[in-house]
């Protein structure tokens, strides 16, 4: 289209000089420490794991741990660990040469984490001789697990929000969801090591649900801090 071609060929307009307010800011310009994504990710991971470890030290490991299949314990534990680190990585570390983190992938990771852990919990769960039997009396404890998981998720979400405060012009909701999903997965890992209920509904909805609830809460609240205004 010729009209569009004509418009495209117009030379760029002459911009006005920087505003007086900006000039005043420039007059007192000082060096500033810029964001270091990998360092932030390492710090976020280490502090979150230390916090989770401190919580775990106050609790007991699940009493049926010796009766459960070792491979299941290790594989599920690793899955929770990957569910913790992968979304945090995508939420904090941009592609090489870019400033904004991979918010689209972070969003996808948070959804996969939430749906995946709920689904896996419902489908893949061992029955143990001393594991509590599935019935309605575990609903109350189920909420306890949810609260415990969310409390564990709090630290990674808060630290991530602090690291990314005012940094995201786009995709802040998805990045926040990924922080929540990562934190929720850490909570899920804690529950995997502590809670001895092996009922699929409990493991899926309460342990896996921590990831979804945490992602939703973070997506609702964290962009207030991380969105660039």
């Amino acid at each position: 289209m010729r009209a569009i071609d004509e418009l495209a060929q117009l030379p760029p307009p002459v911009p006005p000089p920087p505003s007086a307010v900006l000039e005043a800011e420039l007059a007192k310009l000082t060096p500033i420490a810029t964001r270091r994504p990998v360092r932030q990710l390492v710090l976020l991971t280490v502090v979150s794991l230390a916090y989770a470890g401190a919580i775990f030290a106050m609790l007991a490991i699940r009493h049926d741990v010796h009766e459960l299949p070792g491979a299941w314990m290790i594989c599920v534990g690793l899955a929770w660990l990957v569910g913790f680190i992968a979304p945090l990585y995508l939420a904090t570390v941009p592609r090489a040469g870019q400033v904004v983190p991979r918010w689209q992938l972070a969003g996808v990771a948070s959804m996969i984490g939430a749906i995946g852990f709920i689904g896996l919990g419902l489908v893949v769960h061992p029955s143990s001789a001393h594991g509590a039997a599935p019935d309605w009396q575990h609903v109350g404890r189920g909420y306890g697990c949810l609260e415990f998981g969310l409390a564990t998720a709090l630290v990674p979400v808060v630290i991530g929000a602090v690291f990314l405060r005012g940094a995201l012009p786009v995709g802040s909701r998805w990045v926040a969801a990924a922080l929540g999903a990562g934190g929720g997965s850490l909570g899920g890992l804690m529950l995997h090591l502590h809670c001895s209920i092996t009922d699929g509904a409990h493991v899926g909805l309460m342990h896996g649900g921590v990831v979804g609830v945490s992602a939703l809460l973070a997506a609702a609240l964290v962009p207030r801090v991380t969105h660039l205004r």
Binding site: M1, E6, P12
Partner: protein
Amino acid sequence: MADAKDLMQRYCDGDAGAFRELYALVAPRLLGYLLKMARERALADDLLQQTFMKVHRARAAYVRGADPLPWIYSIAHRTFIDEARKHKRAVVRVGDVEELPEVPAGLTGESADRRDDGRADPELVTAALDALADLPHQQREAVVLTKLDGKSVAEAAAIAGTTTGAMKVRAHRGYEALRKVLGRTGEPAKKSTGGAR
């Protein structure tokens, strides 16, 4: 002239001169984008200043070694969207009370004395701007970024905060809508210089 990456790093190191160089490098392109989106020179100027103020306040979020241009464009994009929302709300309020007359937007977004290109056909440019203004803002943005500013679909998607698939669809729909409108407003299809670029 140094590249944007180097200038941004020196700016973050406290070099105000680097900021001025960065401004000189980026502001014309950014203003061109904002003008095509907002269509009013005064508004585009204001959005440009707001964008650079935000860049200044958020410079700690910059990652060394990264190209700052997509990030700055994203900030400009958000600034425009926020302003458009405010403007929309203001228009609704005015419409409700019917106190003020409707004021048409400027045609080209810049005064005639500021336009320094004598080769462009003003009629065609005006027709293109009019047609652009009638597009939904997402399609307008897609056309401006991909067809007029020469960004790749991926770059445009990153700036607008959407997926490449959605950006492709928006650009295609926007371009098709423009083709229809510009066809009706007298731009001869025979004179076409090649269509989509």
